[in-house]
Amino acid sequence: MMNETSVIQRLLDYTDRQIRWIFSFPAVLVMLCLFAYPLFQLFWTSFTNDVLSADAKVEFIGLANYYRAFTEDPHFWRSIWITLYFAAGSTVGQLMLGMVLALFLNREFKGEATFRMLLMFPIIATPVAMSLVWSMLMNPMMGHLNYYLSFLGFPGSLWGASTTSVMPSLILVELWHWTPMTMLVLLAGLKGLPKEPFEAATVDGASKIQVFLKITLPLLQPYIFLLLLMRLVHGLKVFDKIFVISGGGPNRASETLNIMIYDQAFSAVNFGYASALGAFLLLIILLISIALFRLRQRSWSY
């Protein structure tokens, strides 16, 4: 009886000490299934020549897929450049426009709430449906955009149908879609800023630009950093807009790494090579995230 009690007691004590692991086990299991296993599968497949053939054997080929990307595929480095172009262009654009809109809305005026609500509409649009509408609007032959431009006396554009205008067109759509969210976060930041530094600056005779550069921006730093990280990572991974509007064309002018991965996996059925590209994209996103965090630690502080 004494032995049974002490065994039960020891078990209870042990459970008590390990309670954090017991409660976190379901979440860890989900993480392993949904994250760790697919990641492992991605890296494993990147080292094979898997082409989904019923007859061909899947073999381990080491770094051959990576070698092919870095040295043999003429479009690989171009797609990295296009990816970075899109991510950087859309992120900077969103931050700038979002800031302008947030500063504009950071005041009281009649209809402010309605105006803010209207600005939110792009965020709630489903990406694929919205992209389809944009591709119709941007149609050089029958699209509304060229029609309205001609009304105003401006020449039409080829939009997504030209190798030179396709990326700016895609960035434009991305700005339309996500600037409201950026604006919302910055507006929340602006509304939460302390009033005293601004009052002190006004008393000291600082101009509006000086106030903005020396006080507003530094105080908004955490929000800007958060948006920079989120939007940059999102920009690096974007797929739906590019797939629907340009499909990576014309002539691969908008083929980001993500689109290239999709083409290699589901058109060319080169799962091994596609996995290698996917692993490389993951690495890029990781490196950029780490660089941003390091920058955040070393950046200006107040």
Partner: protein, 431 residues
Amino acid sequence: MKSVRFGLQRCVLAALLLVLTAGLSFGESFNWRQFEGTTIRGVFSKSAFTKIRKMHIKKFEKLTGIKVKDEHYPSAPLRRKMVMELGAKNKSLDVIGGMMKTAYQYDNAGWLEPLDKYVNSSRLTSPEYDFEDFGQRTRPIIKGRLIGIGDSGNPQFLSYRKDLFDKYNIKVPTTWKELEAAAKILKKNLPKGQYAWIARMNKENTAVFAPFLYSNNGSWLDENGRPNFNSKAAVDAMKFYGKMAREYGPPGASTLGWKEVVGAVAQGKAAMTVEISIFATLVWENPKRSKVAGKLGYALAPAGIPGNNKIMLPINMHHVSKFSQNKEAAWLLVQFLSMKEQLLDFKLRGAITTRSSSWQNPKWKARDKLPELSKLQAEGVRSGRIGFEIAISRFTEARPILSRMIYTAYEEGDVQKAADEAVKQIERLID
């Protein structure tokens, strides 16, 4: 005496009964219910005729007692889905909808069950099936094996605005020279926003470029299966195709796929195109869907070499999956869907079927409102070329390479250089 007569009567009766039952069993020799209780899964291409196909599937279920789980997808998502399912050797997949261009890929990957033994089996194929009724040119045969049953086709022709041709006194073009001459006149006379010519120039441009290639005696592959589309004939075809799009077509050609072409012609924005002729039947000649109904004429796609006009014939077909656990039941479904009665149903609704009997049927002849087009379509089914895209197993990887090469012609780039480079890339894929 009595007993002998009685015995004779019995023999005669028995003989009569034997003949009768033999006659009956001869008439009912094919057993449609031999796989009754089985469940099979078919994945089909969604089209304007999907409703009828679903009706046929219901009929099949009643006839055979086989339960069919049918799914219908547009062709591009269907191709991607099939790659995933067949690549994973999915045993739940029995019947697959496809086209010739993907058949090479699927067959090379070992995903398709050859159908010769099924067609030739009296146990598995009804005597009413009449395989010989299918046009010779419509049978999907790869390396001597029948890998599918083609039930409908889509021959490509030149569609042109008869009214504009009459107005500006333009001759129906049969050669490239005549086509360009017609385009010049139209370009000069058409108002802003209307174009003389339109054709696909996006990723799908290889399909519609094919008649230009072959009519100029070019080809994708030589007799040894090596790429030879960097020949002068092929490069000239690309240059002409690109020139027509650039000088006589709408701006932003890279966005032009079949949807944009169909829409532009239906709205009266483009006067000439080479496209699959089912669009004429379903859209352009339908006054509810088109502004040009009754105004279009049809002819063979103009040729690079006079008299060498070619008809390209995309075929829709059904395969049986190599991994199916119910191959014979799956064959019954493929067979049933391509029987004379079912294909006549399609024909009466405007489909371009691969069975000669559908075209000869008096019910169809009485309904035919576009005899000029039907004559061309029948000729297409009889003599068209079904394998007109590059016939290599890695077709889906090759197509974008070829598409970009053709696009170079539209942008007035160095087409020969682009073709030489594309040949190298295709050779790597083949090897």
